[in-house]
Homo-oligomer: 165 residues x 2
DNA sequence: ATGTACTTTCAATTATTTCTGAAAGTTTTA
DNA sequence: TAAAACTTTCAGAAATAATTGAAAGTACAT
């Protein structure tokens, strides 16, 4: 397999993987393109290599920047902007976990708090409260794990895995 | 807050949470409805409570069954089918992790294997190979963690969390 | 100040996903 | 065996999400 072929294949797969996780395909593809590129990439490059429009490239790149996994950079003598991503997969994973934690765990905990205030003492209400408490406890533990992961490094994670039986 | 109100609110939020994770809203809502119901639920019940069509209810329930998180049940004297879900949140989490592992980790590892066979010895190829190796190593560790989680119980998970600093 | 090179925005279009509902299929009952 | 009770299927409709492209915006250079 030739390098370009391999890169292309990787970009496509990364796109599919992303869309399975509620991340739009183009956004994941732009990220993959940055991952496999040895040089910073311009909007033009993205448009050409991924066959997408300027608007699409611009919007999705912006979202990647907001997520903190892509950064703008400048090349001396060049006027336009270039983009790069951190090639450290662990840093990437941490950043993504951080985002999802903020965007999903927090709203979930808020909903849990809200529905905890349900009135009544009958069997059905008690069952409901028990369910909500279980979800609360689970969510808090997931939150705790994510928090530890975000603050960790690769070796920490590896050591934790080894400690588990 | 009244019980019905709380249930309704929970069902909506569960739907939103699901759709953030690439699970369709109705499917997540059906699951939530089953979670908060003290009795088994029929297709008719779903249609009425979630205001959805028969086909929609049927298809999404089937998918939940395929995922192993909902099961058919029968009520003595009733001809039609009823559905229930396990109220154990940990069992649910394990089942979901199991599904996603199978549906996403395995294809990812296959792609990684494919692009590993890239030809060439130049700097760019080496960089690409290094990236792929990092992703491979990360994916394998994620796979390992998921595997341990799937085989675990709540207490195991809790103990692991405590062991982590 | 004007032109040039580039970036951003967003209304309109296109693609994708989800949902409906009626018809076909299946199982039970009489 | 036939009708009734229920479930499944799937083509088309509707809803939602993603994308385009041209116009507006910005910043730099002369």
């Amino acid at each position: 397999m030739k390098l370009d072929e391999a890169k292309q294949h990787f970009i496509q797969s990364w796109g599919t993987l992303g869309s399975n996780w509620g991340i739009n395909r183009t956004m994941a593809q732009i990220h993959a393109l940055l991952l496999v590129s040895s040089e910073p990439i311009s909007t033009e490059d993205m448009m050409e290599q991924l066959q997408i429009s300027r608007g699409n490239a611009n919007m999705n790149t912006r979202t990647l920047i907001e997520w903190g996994i892509v950064t703008k950079t400048h090349i001396p003598g060049e006027r336009r902007e270039f983009f790069v991503t951190d090639k450290d997969i662990w840093a990437l994973a941490r950043q993504i976990v951080k985002q999802r934690r903020q965007r999903e765990i927090e709203p979930m905990l808020r909903v849990i708090q809200e529905v905890k205030n349900v009135e009544g003492n009958d069997k059905e209400t008690k069952e409901f409260k028990e369910l909500i408490n279980d979800i609360d406890s689970f969510t808090q533990k997931a939150d705790d794990l994510m928090d530890k992961f975000i603050r960790s490094d690769e070796h920490w994670f590896y050591r934790q895995l080894l400690k588990m039986v």
